[in-house]
Symmetry: C2
Subunit: 465 residues, 2 copies
């Protein structure tokens, strides 16, 4: 008999009276004076454990009395209606096989008590066994699956852009170098510089910071594409919103202008929030109870609301006339800071904002210049409670305008040869955006720190496991 996931037992997939086999780990054991024990068994298949009743007539009841949090067991038993509170169904054990003990329950790092989130982070290999990280893992999966499903249903193709790249197009600041050179004996050229021609790729090579430029090549052939892969920043940022390694989703759409992808962003967010609310209600209720009481209500609100489009220039006026005193002064041309974004989304509008048409000087070289020659067709999605969650733009598809921009910024046309080719041969208007996956998971779960929503976080000084 194959074993049954706990979720199937709890959802009543087996009739009362049926014999089932469940396998998992003990969360708690409680003994009753009436000569029986209650074992809460979890297997990761859902938030709730299943309650197992073990009577003292079981031949290994002495062993059962030694079960502690984390022990692994295989239990055959009968599905029963529960007389206790908190669950409709439970299992009365016919046989309890103990698969794995906990070496020393007193020093077991995940013993059944409340641990701080920082402590869990230091035990990243065991923290999936906790309620909170188990719930994060299921929600993270649900979001990832929903994102892939959303794009698939809409006719997008997933493109895996390269992780290691010798391309100069991104600028080498804040990047991780990838190399196989012997650090103890670096080859040098005539001038005494490191000779990367002897490196694995014959060139200095880095980890990607974005798949956008690469994926544009596919948008300009397949029309609708997206990336979903890891990206890297070697920033020395020790904040709750930064990781050196994080996952990013980057749709890129041919024949789409800024408003088209603004609409796509709204649709995507609503789709994945709905998926979580429907598919992971159990975990979301836990987050609402223990992490952020608005975890569910704010998602429900976003799903129902129309996102409000707002021009950067108008936003500056609103901020100036708000009567609020901001830490960072507001003036046309400045980048909006978190306090500005949150005021606009939370206080002024009370809904997600799609902020558009930023000053060109604070945005990237590839963004499309608007007719005013001062702004670019860029957009950010600002969500109440978190601020910027998506950043995107229409790309400059006009070769002459693009070349002028490169010149202005002192960039070299030859370094952008393949990117320019997309504009030389059958150029089309196209647009896209980037969504940081960990910030999305943090927003959805209410978790305060992105380090707790990725299996093994990488931050300055930390690449354990």
């Amino acid at each position: 008999m194959a074993h049954t996931p706990v979720v199937d037992v709890l959802k009543g997939q087996h009739a009362v009276g049926d014999t089932v086999l469940v396998k998992g780990w003990v969360r708690t054991r409680r003994d009753s004076k009436a000569g029986l024990s209650f074992i809460n068994l979890h297997d990761g298949s859902c938030f709730d454990p299943v309650q197992v009743i073990a009577l003292n007539t079981l031949n290994n009841y002495d062993d059962i009395l030694k079960l502690t949090a984390g022990c692994s067991v295989s239990i055959t038993g009968t599905v029963k209606e529960s007389e206790g509170q908190g669950q409709a169904l439970e299992i009365e054990a016919q046989d309890v096989e103990i698969l794995g003990w906990v070496e020393n329950p007193d020093t077991y790092p995940m013993a059944a008590k409340r641990h701080s989130i920082e402590y869990l982070r230091e035990h990243a290999h065991l923290r999936p066994r906790t309620n909170v990280i188990g719930a994060v893992t299921r929600v993270r999966h649900c979001l990832s699956a929903a994102i892939h499903r959303f794009f698939h249903e809409q006719g997008y193709y997933w493109i895996s852009t390269p992780i290691m790249t010798a391309s100069d197009t991104e600028g080498a600041g804040e990047m991780f170098r990838v190399s196989t050179l012997d650090m103890a004996n670096l080859p040098l050229d005539d001038k005494g510089h490191v000779d990367y021609s002897e490196d694995f790729f014959g060139k200095e090579t880095f980890l990607t910071v974005s798949g956008q430029l690469n994926v544009e090549t596919f948008a300009c052939a397949m029309s609708k594409v997206y990336t979903f892969g890891p990206t890297f920043r070697a920033e020395n940022s020790n904040t709750s919103r930064h990781l050196a390694e994080f996952w990013m989703i980057e749709p890129e759409v041919a024949f789409a202008d800024l408003n088209d992808v603004a609409g796509l962003a709204e649709e995507l967010l609503k789709y994945v929030f709905k998926a979580v609310l429907e598919e992971r209600r159990d975990d979301m209720e836990f987050f609402a109870k223990r992490i952020n009481k608005e975890a569910i209500s704010r998602l429900e609100k976003v799903v129902e609301q129309d996102f409000v489009h707002m021009d950067y220039t108008d936003a500056i006026e609103i901020l100036k006339n708000s009567g609020k005193k901001f830490e960072f002064p507001v003036e046309w041309g400045v980048d909006l800071s978190s306090e500005h974004e949150r005021y606009l989304a939370e206080e002024h509008v009370g809904a997600p904002i799609i902020m558009k048409n930023y000053p060109k000087d604070i945005k990237a070289f590839y963004m499309r210049i608007n007719d005013d020659e001062k702004t670019v067709a860029a957009m950010d999605v600002l969500a109440p409670g978190i601020g910027e969650i998506i950043g995107g733009s229409q790309r400059e598809e006009r070769l002459d305008v693009f070349d002028r921009r490169l010149d202005e910024m002192g960039l070299n046309r030859e370094d952008y040869a393949w990117y320019r080719d997309l504009r030389r041969y059958g150029t089309v208007p196209h647009s896209g955006f980037g969504l940081g996956f960990e910030r999305l998971v943090a927003y959805v779960t209410g978790m305060q720190n992105v380090r707790d929503v990725i299996p093994f976080p990488r931050t300055p000084g930390n690449a354990q496991y």
Copy 2:
């Protein structure tokens, strides 16, 4: 009016007589003496282009006569039943807007003629516009979507294991180093060695070669998990089957033994092959016609056949008694080479083989020792026409046996502290396997070289784009 994907027009989503707007790129233009032109327009949404009839009564017909392969256009027209061969429906243009010309059609790298696959590889940013790479891209997406769907439907969670890792558990051979140290001024310690404590992570760090050890930590909490992410090998291998950067799928299942994951592997392959046969018939017909005439039939055969389980020890006997002369001699204890695997799968059995229980000395330290003490619970899936496509094993879950193995192999227990913890605290039998995604795509499409089934291949000396 939003524009319509070509696939919707060809599938008859719009009635004959309807006006549609399509956008895409010209594949070919042919002029008729009758005063009209035929434009084949593709947009990546399916293999076939749509045929557009442009009459010389269009006011920009002079421009239309200059359209060449790769030009981008936006066409409004009427859906018509086609009188020509090769398509049921076509579009009669009411308006042809030319969005982007090809700078110099004579030097356009993707001009409408047959290019060698090696030539296309050197123009990786434009090759998605070709029939063959377009088809590969759609099939690759279809496989990726089917893999995620398969696991989601079966209750598995996607886990993103880390890309950068300071973990010593894999052994540092053939790995890429990741660093932010200034190569021109490397910090040295007292002994004159490179001082990695000053590096970004405070430790020597590499790109992952497999997510398996990491994902075991999640299997031992969530029960059913899988990875789907990039992995790296700094091998100097210039073959048609090796990439320095490739994607891998690694399911890991708690409470599963070797036969359980052998069954999972069979189910997974059949599921994704069926998905391709159903969803990408158009592209598969192209591959069968132009790349490998068995592209469709061999997938259909695999879907229908039961995979044959075979013990390594029996396979050695079969090979010895085959009467065949092999280049590499056959003896118990040797690793099977490609000629052996193909003889067994193609000639002896004529079906995919699940080869099990290999000599422990040719397999990894984490594989579970069988009762004979000579073999481990490892398996490879050998497919006719390609050889090994999946490799997996049951993991050693018994701490004492695992420690003995580490000792035998001269490995240090402290380096495996977190991996050993999984065996110290509620250990469970668990198993998993790895499937190289590019080898899968190559097998399905019949493409000879894995460099042509990944958007931007990374190989020794090549990290362009």
